[in-house]
């Protein structure tokens, strides 16, 4: 999500030089989180996406840091095997988008919820979410990671407000879709519109910034729109209505299109914690479209 608050925070990050402080030889989770907040150069506001330590003992010694799109059971297992116990996911970890246990639709006795908490506790793992503050890194780490993964970082149109555009050599919507599918490592990619239509400009957003922004993208005049997760009746429906009179191409890429950005967060954290192992643990596309 891009809003005024995040933009200001991002500017603060861009302007504030990071000064390394002496770090304890065996930093605790509290130390690591404090240092991340300080090094960000941003006024750290955990709202609205709960960028805080969600779970775990703040006094636990950190053995290494893993960044990821989501702290899935699979990711946690990989992190444990690598000796990493400070987990920095972009998205929520406990099946409630604000990681708000009080608002969870699941009972505390749910077996998946209990197993995940037990795994974290047994392995002295800590989960610290980083959503808004990944977006508000200078340039938006999530967007930059996505553009880099697509090979489009140098093609970004400058001087535009709102979701970025890229300008590409003209190509068919189908060929562009094939590029997106391959570059993003997708098993399945849904496309709206005529596959033969020629595309040269694309408006992009990551994750689920909301229907208002996504509809703005549809109305932006770009030849094609690259979206993460949508609410179909609102956004896909709007595309259907537009397409009754205007040509339009939409790629529904899924929320994991934000994954690569957490690789850039890992790169940044390596500069803050040179004595700790730091890894990005990728999240594969979870979907297939079986024939």
């Amino acid at each position: 999500m891009i809003d005024r608050r995040l933009f200001i925070a991002g500017m603060a990050g861009a302007l504030a030089p990071v000064k390394g402080l002496a770090q304890p030889a065996a930093p605790t989770a509290r130390d690591v989180f404090s240092e991340i907040k300080r090094a960000s150069g941003q006024k750290w506001d955990p709202n609205p996406t709960d960028d805080r330590i969600i779970f775990g003992d703040r006094g636990a010694v950190v053995t290494g840091i893993a960044t990821c799109f989501t702290a899935s059971i699979d990711v946690l297992g990989t992190a444990r095997a690598a000796g990493l116990n400070y987990i920095v996911p972009h998205e929520a970890s406990f099946y409630e988008r604000y990681d708000d246990f009080a608002e969870s639709a699941l009972p505390d006795s749910d077996p998946v919820l209990r197993a995940k908490k037990a795994f974290l506790t047994d392995n002295r793992m800590i989960v610290q979410r980083m959503h808004a503050h990944a977006h508000s890194r200078p340039g938006d780490a999530i967007m930059t990671g996505m553009l880099r993964k697509l090979g489009w970082e140098a093609l970004r149109v400058t001087g535009r407000e709102g979701p970025p555009w890229v300008r590409l050599p003209p190509q068919s919507a189908r060929d562009l879709g094939l590029h997106i599918k391959t570059a993003m490592g997708l098993h399945t990619l849904r496309m709206f519109g005529d596959p033969a239509r020629t595309i040269s400009t694309v408006s992009l957003s990551g994750g689920m910034p909301g229907e208002n922004i996504q509809i703005q993208q549809l109305e932006s005049g770009a030849d094609a729109v690259f979206l993460g997760e949508v609410r179909e009746p609102e956004v896909l429906g709007y595309a259907q209505d537009m397409a009754a009179d205007r040509g339009l191409t939409v790629y529904l890429v899924g929320h994991t299109n934000e994954d690569a950005g957490m690789g850039l967060i890992a790169d940044w954290l390596k500069t803050i914690f040179p004595s700790l192992p730091v890894q990005w643990l990728p999240t594969p596309d979870p979907y297939t479209n079986p024939s």
Binding site: Y95, L106, R190, P233, G237, D241, P286
Partner: protein, 285 residues
């Protein structure tokens, strides 16, 4: 019969609403949470007129999964002035008034007003026999019969032994409404039970349905990916025989729209026409 009278007759036919808590979507949850409330429990009603003049005499009725521009134009061409939509009309799942409709929505509203039409949203699961059959229409179209008794708003659960997820996908695609399903899990799984989320305007809060021990497959139009899809991926990683099948909101609602169109002649002499709402999605290949 006016539009309002038609709506009253429909409510009498389909029975009481099955759920007092509905229409909860991400923006509403966030707005409510920021205001200090619980975003799991806004009691927003969904069914009702969303555009146009419901005092008009009903000249003809079109029923569709969605009152798209194409559906509205075809309804007008057919001489129908009431369009019944399963899905939202005003741009968010609660159909909240839109202060500044975006161009495509504004054009639809203008078309409706210029042609003295009205759009009625009718999506709430309801509890009469007719109401239940409409809620079950998608599962019925796939050949599933006799869900477990219970409140359809909490999901429809069909015990299963023989059918694999791949079999079910084949049936979904043979219906012709969608070719772009998304599966999380093993297509070879034979789930112990198949659950259908009936309220496609409530993509959140579906985890309790798939968490049930008698449910192995959740079929939904869409979900919040970082909630329900993430839960199922973790359940699978823990060795649970679970899967998630997303068929898209149009495919989910199209059979219900068709079934509703078949029920309406009981209460109105007006011509009733079902129109299919194509989602117009394709797999990139």
């Amino acid at each position: 019969m006016t539009g309002h009278e038609l709506f009253e007759a429909i409510k009498a036919l389909l029975g009481p609403e099955a759920n007092r808590h509905r229409g909860v979507d991400a923006p509403a949850r966030r707005d409510t949470a920021i205001a200090g409330g619980s975003y799991r429990s806004p009691g927003t009603l969904v069914d009702g007129f969303r555009a146009g003049d419901a005092d008009v005499d009903v000249r003809g009725i079109v029923v569709a999964a969605r009152a798209s521009t194409a559906v509205l134009r075809e309804a007008h061409r057919l001489g129908a002035n009431i369009v019944i939509s399963r899905q939202a009309f005003l741009g968010d799942s609660q159909d909240r008034p839109v202060a500044k409709p975006e161009p495509a929505l504004a054009a639809k509203i203008a078309f409706i007003e210029a042609n003295r039409m009205a759009v009625l949203r009718l999506q709430d699961p309801r509890l009469s026999q007719e109401g239940r059959e409409i809620a079950q229409a998608f599962a019925s179209a796939l050949g599933l019969r006799e869900p477990q008794p219970g409140n359809p708003a909490r999901g429809l659960v069909y015990p299963n032994k023989a059918m694999s997820v791949r079999d079910l996908i084949s049936r979904v695609k043979s219906g012709g409404t969608t070719s772009t399903v998304r599966l999380v899990g093993d297509p070879g799984l034979r789930p112990v039970g198949i659950a259908f989320a009936t309220e496609t305007n409530r993509p959140n809060a579906l985890t309790p349905l798939i968490a049930r021990p008698d449910v192995g497959l959740l079929v939904a139009g869409e979900v919040h990916e970082t909630e329900t899809a993430a839960y199922i991926a973790d359940a699978i990683a823990l060795g649970q025989p679970k899967a998630l099948l997303l068929v898209g909101s149009i495919a989910m609602e199209d059979p219900a729209a068709k079934r509703l169109s078949e029920a309406l002649p009981q209460i109105t002499p007006a011509t009733v026409t079902y129109l299919s709402s194509s989602e117009e999605l394709r797999e990139v290949a």
